[in-house]
């Protein structure tokens, strides 16, 4: 069984977090200047490599777990054969196992990881632009837009793009919601974060009512809509994964490119402006990027809460708020968290519960703990 191993790696990760913080404080006190800078850089690199390693390990373990147990050695054989293209080595693996891993488990595993990464990344940017550590990818109503799109498809049994009807509708509607929010919040003074949050709340309220109405009309089909809203990776395909991955890579590049400007905008609009940033333009670019990323994640998986809120918070505690470090670490941490959660519901629990429920169940109390601890500290 895999879970003792997961537990060990989680414990190791937590240990690393606490150790890192102590080291950082110590070294900040002892040294200063460029030497310190390069130390910090190597520690950051080490953290990235470590998280990447954990993610790979988790993928491997997750692929071996499930209704059919597949040994790690068999998996290793399968992967090397696939990657190196060795046909005869591939044939040594049982065909059933091959199909289960390649066509069923891996698409789901990779999609879960990519969606986790996307939500975390999007959350970091939202919190930065909105100057609000409590913002998440859904603050501006992207999720409600997607949910409304999906509800319409499910309600009227639309079928324009085959299996992709729901994702396409969800994406288009969240894009439209974003356009409305930006239109609502832009005034002569440019886009301010308060205006954005308010407009997001307005759109979410309207769309929630619309979704409730869809549910009411759906009558006996209501369970399908509810099930979609709760989020699931059960039917993820390689196509889903590639879609999310394309957006993920593009947005990562965009966000890292603007990471310094994001730091400056955290100082407030006026100060950012005096340090050479055009706040309105920056907000518009990054908002569009992170919303599209969130929209594509929601479209393929449904509404999965808390990842985009929790991960940026946790990671900020380790790396500090500098976005150049925060972004890549959040990406990996988000992937690990959501893949971990999905593996738990897929392979460990006696019956599968919707992933959105699970993340909220884990995330809620954890967030409560973090929040409480910080209040006690002040």
């Amino acid at each position: 069984m895999g879970h003792p191993r997961i537990e060990i790696s989680v414990r190791g990760f937590l240990f690393l977090i606490t150790k890192q913080k102590k080291d950082q404080v110590l070294s900040n006190k002892m040294t200063s200047g460029t030497k310190n800078n390069s130390n910090v850089f190597y520690r950051h690199l080490f953290l990235l490599v470590f998280l990447l390693f954990v993610l790979c390990l988790l993928i491997l373990i997750s692929a071996s777990m499930g209704y059919i147990q597949i040994s790690l050695s068999e998996l290793a054989q399968l992967f090397t054969a696939r990657i190196l293209g060795l046909e005869n080595m591939l044939e040594q693996v049982k065909e059933l196992h091959r199909t289960v891993v390649i066509d069923v488990r891996l698409p789901r595993i990779f999609t879960a990881a990519a969606v986790g990464a996307g939500l975390a990344l999007s959350g970091v940017v939202y919190q930065g632009i909105l100057l609000n550590p409590l913002a998440d990818p859904y603050t501006l109503g992207v999720s409600s837009g997607a949910a409304f799109g999906a509800s319409i498809v499910l309600l009227f049994n639309l079928n324009f793009f085959g299996a992709y009807t729901i994702p396409v509708f969800a994406f288009v509607f969240s894009g439209l919601t974003l356009l409305f929010v930006i239109y609502l919040s832009s005034s002569a003074g440019g886009i301010s974060s308060n205006n954005l949050i308010l407009s997001g709340i307005i759109m979410t309220a309207i769309l929630s009512a619309a979704i409730s109405f869809c549910k009411y009309l759906a009558q006996e089909k209501v369970s399908i809509i509810i099930f979609w809203l709760l989020g699931s990776f059960t039917s993820s395909t390689w196509m889903d994964f590639s879609l999310v991955m394309i957006f993920l890579l593009l947005c990562l590049g965009l966000f890292v490119f603007y990471s310094r400007d994001l730091n400056l905008i955290c100082l407030g609009t006026r100060m950012a402006s005096s340090l050479g940033v055009n706040p309105s333009k920056l907000r518009l670019i990054l908002l569009t990027g992170s919303s599209l990323l969130a929209a594509v994640c929601v479209s393929v998986s449904g509404i999965i809460g808390f990842v985009g809120l929790l991960i940026p918070h946790m990671v900020r505690g380790i790396t500090g708020p500098d976005h150049f470090k925060l972004l890549p670490v959040s990406l990996l941490a988000g992937a690990i968290l959501l893949l971990g959660a999905d593996t738990v519901t897929r392979a460990l629990l006696p019956s599968e519960i919707p992933i959105g429920v699970l993340t909220a169940l884990i995330g809620g109390p954890f967030f409560f703990y973090v929040f409480r601890k910080r209040q006690m500290a002040i």
Partner: protein, 258 residues
């Protein structure tokens, strides 16, 4: 001329003009004090100078060119702002914040070099924030934060320093020290300073020239000894004032009576 404003007006949507028909010239190397009652357009005036807000009509010229023709980063290398209030929700360290003052001088992915770190460390020394450098900005008091923000502006090595009631939250000693520091920058490095003051006497003590704003209009502009009079103060603030020379400070001061 550092700045030249030609019939500049600015307004928010749905409100009256915040600034109306302001025309003036600011010379390089001088220490200007901006005074006026609340809501008279002082902060908007500073925002126009740093290119954060764009005039609705009229033109703002910086070094003889329209300020909108400059790139944001280009302006940030020459003009720095110390704002009055400052809220930060993210736990950046003081050192990180001060080094951000170097960002306009660095290309996008360039790490701060030895020279940048020297400049930042000098700014910390000058503002008495060296000891705070590893603290998190979210844990500092209002006065400490304001000194950090001041240090960040110094690290920007600006030709023009805009202060928006920059010493309003500081204890009397630090407030005076920062004003003296600004004064010294003004004399030694010929940094032009445009400072909005709440405290009229502090303005009288440190500035070369004063600008008085009233209800969005420039009332008067001129050297202290010509413009700092009980008449002016009465007209602008609606209080009776007595002006006297204070030998302890070697400057003109005012006392007020309603």
């Amino acid at each position: 001329m550092s700045f030249s404003l030609q019939k500049v007006s600015y307004s928010f949507t749905g409100s009256e003009n915040v600034l109306r028909d302001v025309s003036l010239d600011l010379e390089p190397g001088k220490f200007y004090g901006v005074l006026g009652p609340n809501g008279s357009g002082k902060t908007t005036f500073l925002d126009l100078l740093q290119g954060h807000k764009t005039a609705a009509s009229g033109r703002v010229l910086y070094k003889d060119w329209d300020i909108n023709l400059y790139g944001k980063k280009e302006l940030a290398r020459e003009i720095a702002l110390v704002p009055q209030d400052f809220v930060l929700h993210f736990p950046f360290s003081v050192r990180e914040i001060i080094l951000m003052g170097r960002y306009p001088h660095l290309s996008r992915f360039q790490m701060p070099g030895t020279k940048d770190i020297e400049i930042a460390e000098k700014a910390m020394e000058q503002t008495g924030t060296t000891k705070l450098q590893d603290s998190l900005i979210t844990e500092l008091s209002g006065g400490e934060k304001q000194r950090v923000i001041f240090a960040r502006a110094l690290a920007q090595t600006p030709e023009i320093l805009l202060l928006d009631e920059a010493t309003s939250q500081l204890d009397i000693r630090y407030g005076l020290e920062l004003m003296k520091l600004s004064s010294k920058l003004n004399q030694d490095q010929e940094t032009t300073i445009v400072a909005v003051f709440h405290d009229i006497n502090q303005a009288a003590r440190f500035c070369d020239e004063l600008l008085f704003f009233k209800q969005g209009e420039l009332d008067s502009l001129g050297p202290i000894d010509q413009i700092f009079s009980s008449d002016t103060l009465n007209r602008i603030f609606g209080v009776r004032a007595k002006i006297f020379f204070e030998p302890f400070l070697e400057s003109w001061q005012a006392v007020f009576q309603t």
